[in-house]
């Protein structure tokens, strides 16, 4: 494992811990940014779909462990997100690439999660998307630009 992967492993662990603890301080109404998603999209853009989905699977599994829902749900959604984000690497102009990929990755992540979460249940998927997915993804994209700059600066050093 080279230093790049070690640095990203640190990013993922810090993002997981902050997501579970200090993100509540920047919460607006019920909307919270997804720090893990930001790190995953950054890593997948840099390393491609194979490493992206592997990282997504591992980090999703860790998220499942501190939740009350069934294990495997976040692993699945984050795997697909890592794959899609890695596959989109180089598809957009460099300036817009991160934001567009984060937007698409966020939608893939949430839609997969909610689709499986509500499967076979009499559940309002539409309201979940309007109330949570869209605001959460927008908030994540806004914050993502700043964190992306910080991570890339540190990794490039």
């Amino acid at each position: 494992m080279n230093s790049l992967h070690i640095r990203y492993a640190v990013f993922f662990l810090v993002a997981l811990l902050l997501q579970a603890t200090l993100v509540k301080f920047i919460q607006i109404f019920t909307w919270r940014p997804d720090l893990v998603l930001i790190v995953l999209v950054t890593y997948s853009l840099r390393e491609g779909p194979n490493k992206g989905m592997t990282a997504g699977f591992i980090v999703g599994l860790l998220q499942d462990l501190v939740s009350t829902h069934f294990i495997g749900l976040s692993a699945l959604s984050k795997t697909l997100t890592g794959f899609v984000a890695g596959s989109l690497s180089g598809k957009f102009t460099s300036r817009a690439e991160f934001f567009l990929t984060l937007l698409i990755g966020g939608l893939v992540n949430d839609l997969t999660y909610f689709f499986v979460y509500t499967l076979g249940e009499n559940f309002s998927l539409q309201s979940l998307i309007i109330l949570y997915t869209i605001p959460n993804v927008m908030y994540t994209v806004l914050l993502g630009g700043f964190l992306y700059y910080l991570m890339e600066t540190w990794v490039s050093e």
Binding site: Q19, A20, Q63, D64, T68, H69
Partner: protein, 272 residues
């Protein structure tokens, strides 16, 4: 040659993707959180440590302010206590007359919310009390506003609470005025639903909804919320009632766990 390598690489990616999806689905099917309990505990402890540091920093800043508020509240409570003692004596006398059993005999365990679960919709709560504090699975969790949820899993020093805004939480509840019993559930909105209330039962906006006491988990009389919206569909058997939760789940910092005095262990009892 490059085309062949590219095709192989693309197929390799799809094979890997299929492998991870299969693994995820298998994990969902063979779901046994107890076997992965060790890792869950490590993550919970890390989250608890970070929040405890942050709590200590904030603690000193709020201490003086909190002290002043508590002094005033103490005076208010003293006055209320005097009045309540009179009411309790009267209540005891009336209960004896009606031969009612005494209810609500609980011990409270105070707990701090040290973290949130990782769900995207709602947060389960990580609490800083565990088995050594007599916390057991399926104990009710409340705060001064009303019902928060129940204990989902317990570690030695931490526990996870499942809040009302989780699709797996069902609560047997009663309309305070009509005394009609229904089931409170969450369906993905900002409010809760009160189901199975017949159409001929009058329901008022603002009417309180309390726990029915028919459950082994939630004792009688804890406020769940107030009626915010009532709809009558002429083809439906029941009213469509939306409840505004009594508890503000976004600002939870301290909660109380109810420990039944007669039976500390509620472990293993099924959900409602």
């Amino acid at each position: 040659m490059n085309n062949i390598l590219s095709l192989f690489s693309r197929r390799g990616s799809l094979f890997l993707l299929a492998l991870y999806i299969t693994l995820s689905v298998l994990l969902m099917n063979f779901n046994d959180p107890e076997t992965l309990r060790g890792i869950r505990i490590v993550v919970m402890r890390a989250a608890s440590w970070i929040t405890s540091v942050e709590h200590k920093l904030v603690f000193l800043e709020h201490l003086q302010q909190e002290n002043e508020v508590l002094r005033k509240r103490n005076l208010d409570l003293f006055m209320s206590n005097q009045r309540l003692q009179e009411v309790m004596i009267e209540n005891i006398r009336l209960r004896r007359l009606l031969q009612f059993k005494r209810e609500g005999n609980f011990k409270y365990i105070s707990a701090n919310v040290v973290g949130f679960g990782e769900e995207q919709t709602v947060r389960s709560l990580i609490l800083n009390v565990g088995a050594v504090d007599s916390v057991r699975k399926n104990m009710a969790v409340v705060n001064d506003q009303g019902l928060v949820g129940k204990i989902y899993s317990v570690d030695t020093h931490q526990s996870i609470a499942q809040i009302l805004m989780d699709r797996n939480t069902l609560v047997s509840a009663r309309l305070q005025k009509s005394r009609e019993v229904g089931v409170v559930a969450w369906s993905g909105n900002l409010w809760l639903d009160l189901n199975y209330i017949p159409k001929d039962i009058p329901v008022e906006i603002g009417e309180s909804v309390i726990t029915s006491g028919l459950s082994r988990i939630y004792p009688h009389g804890i406020k769940v919320g107030v009626v915010g919206e009532v709809k009558d569909d002429k083809y439906a058997l029941f009213k469509e009632i939306k409840i505004k939760p009594a508890v503000n789940f976004n600002s939870l910092e301290e909660v109380f766990i109810l420990v039944p005095a007669d039976s500390l262990a509620a472990e293993g009892s099924p959900d409602e």
